[in-house]
């Protein structure tokens, strides 16, 4: 098994450039998640690693080998597709063994490896069925089984859970995580769901418009986002933002009566900024003023309060599930300034 290295990888469709010079190092055995909104190029980037999309320029290495111009089957990768892409005319066992059969492995070896993968994924009772006779979750497992049988250096997952219902998605997420622990191979996983990214990844790559916004461990991205985009994308519910500016060397946030004491080097006067604070780091002061509580959603363990400020800006606050708050109250907010972030509105970059 080996890691994956992308060096200045570029993809163009005719004149349109969709991937803008990506440099990325994925270590051996690492679970790397590409995450970003739709159209950010995450699937394209993974398909380039797979060889299903041609790389316009740059270099892709798997382990020590340069695979940029190799055929997909020569790269030592196996992929789980969003639609599963199981061969409908083959049984589960035939589906799982097809790659080995095409590469001329002997029947006995194929049988052994299929049995082994079926054991790992608990697919043994289904081996003689056709995909049509399987449920969504079972098909997903067969698709994963097919990649295990191939024994690739790198596993690729292209939004594998998005066709499953919510409950099954959680189950499969756990299964994929434990599978990674069990076989310890390098895995690249594409999703637009930041919860999947946070729960599965060793390393998250946040992409936007074909560029990497930030790379890091899940909690690093959560605690220390480099820019407003990553701050807003990672975390659920998303971070709240309040507009403000720097005037006479001091920070002023429009919606807040008092300026929070942030430990940042302020930019020049007149710079527009945004204060970012996560819902779970905000507290509601029922005696306070300045915000209107529109609605409170009580989920039991936790409640989400939907507020709007005098400026019209909207905020979400995560509060105690037993909270006594009610709709249509006037409230104030407080937070620990150390947990707030400041971003330059123009560049979107974090001010530190």
């Amino acid at each position: 098994m080996s890691g994956v290295t992308l060096s200045n990888v570029i993809k163009k469709y005719g004149e349109t450039q969709v991937i803008h010079g990506i440099d990325l190092e994925i270590d051996n055995g690492e679970f790397c998640v590409f995450v970003g909104p739709s159209g950010c190029g995450k699937s394209t980037l993974m398909r380039m690693v797979a060889g299903l999309e041609e790389t316009t320029s740059g270099k892709i290495n798997i382990g020590p080998r340069d695979v940029t111009r190799r055929d997909p089957s020569q790269r030592g990768v196996a992929m789980v597709f969003q639609t599963y892409a199981l061969y409908p005319h083959m049984t589960v066992a035939e589906n799982m063994g097809f790659g080995l059969k095409m590469n001329g492995h002997p029947k006995s070896e194929i049988k052994e490896k299929v049995a082994e993968a079926a054991r790992i994924l608990k697919l043994e009772p289904l081996l003689d069925r056709k995909p049509k006779a399987l449920s969504g979750g079972q098909r997903q497992r067969v698709a994963i089984g097919r990649t295990i049988v191939r024994g690739p250096e790198v596993f690729l997952f292209d939004e594998p859970l998005s066709n499953l219902d919510a409950e099954l998605r959680v189950d499969m997420r756990v299964e994929i995580a434990s599978l990674h622990k069990q076989i310890g191979a390098t895995m690249i996983y594409v999703t637009h769901d930041q919860v999947e990214a946070m729960t599965l990844a060793d390393k998250i790559v946040v992409l936007r418009d074909g560029r990497i916004e930030q790379v890091g461990k899940p909690l690093e991205l959560y605690r220390d986002p480099d820019n407003r985009f990553v701050a807003g994308f990672i975390g659920s519910p998303a971070m709240n933002f309040l507009k403000g500016q720097v005037a006479q060397g001091a920070l002023k946030i429009d919606a807040l009566p008092e300026t929070p004491a942030l430990d940042v080097r302020l930019p020049a006067d007149g710079t527009k900024v945004e204060l970012g604070i996560r819902p779970e780091h905000l507290r509601i002061d029922p005696e306070g003023q300045g915000f209107r509580l529109d609605l409170i959603e009580k989920l039991g363990g936790i409640s989400y309060a939907y507020l709007h400020a005098g400026t019209g800006e909207r905020l979400i606050v995560a509060t105690d599930g037993e909270s006594e708050l009610t709709d249509d109250m006037d409230v104030g907010i407080s937070f620990d300034p150390a947990r707030a972030f400041l971003f330059d509105t123009g560049t979107g970059l974090r001010l530190r």
Binding site: G51, D71, M79, F98, M102, N103, K132, A133, R150
Partner: protein, 365 residues
Amino acid sequence: MPQHQGARLVLSQGQAAAILLLPFLTIYAVFLVYPFFKGVWISLHDWNLMAVAFNPDAKAYVGLSNYERVMWGSNITWGAWASPAFQFIGLAGAVASAWLYRTGRAGKVTALAMGGAALLLFVLPGFHPGEGGRWYDRRFWPTVGNTILFVGLAVPGVTITAMLLAAALDGETRAKAVLRTLFFLSQVLSVTVVTLIWQIMFSPRQGLIANLTQLFGGSPIVWLTAEGFAMASIVIATIWWSLGIAMILFLAGIQDISKDLYEAGALDNATGAKAFWYITLPNLKRTITLVVVLQIILHFQVFGQSHLMTNGGPNDTTQVLVRYIYQTAFRDSELGRASAMAVFLFVIMGGFSILQFVLGREKDQ
């Protein structure tokens, strides 16, 4: 149902359906059902076209003797090796369907239908005149044989060519779109034009094929009048003519196959010919069945190619069933016997239609 003011005719759903269907049913009854039964009725009579035209009473009920005169002979016996080629294929087909059923590759109904057809192919050609016997009509069974040979060559020819063309022309480039249209174009020509084109193509003097053979130093083949080549030439013309529809059906079938499967195949090292064999072909199974059965039904009715290109010759080797029916009825005026043959043809084609129905209905397990 709300009552409206004034006298309004309120129809039930069934009545409305009946009224809407009436025009079709009328035409269907007058032009299809009635002539069909009339044909069956004629086949039970000694019916001379000319005589009955002048005197409607000049026909006589003869029961099944037209069928006997066409299909039977004196001193007919049955042997397992009377017609080894057909009977071997039939036997092999029966064994194959049993095997397919036992290994679970074919469903019960499919296996029964295919096995039954194969058994018929084993049994029927086994009948032959014994010592001193002869067929009452010496031309009928050879004509049936020619028709089956024609179908047996044209159907795989059309199916395989159309499938390969469809696989090659599937795609979005302009060249492929143009070629698709070109290959489909021959379909819209009438049989007269098609046979004319191919008569010129096959002409040993100025034909394109003769020119090509001469270019490579061969002597031109007299395609249409040489016994070994006449059938081949009408088959070639037929393949060229009826390629279009089959190609369109295959294109539709190919476009139905998810692109993801080919990408999964690319990762599994199945590209090009391997992808065609392991991914495209199995997923076209239903389309292949449809195309084959439609072509069988269509080509059993072959007439124009044989009539216009070879006149059934040389030495009756391209005489086909519909042409024989036509000649018996309108040249020899033997309408009763011709109708008996037409009923025979109907039974064959009806059989294949039922086969198509059965194979189309059976779901994959």
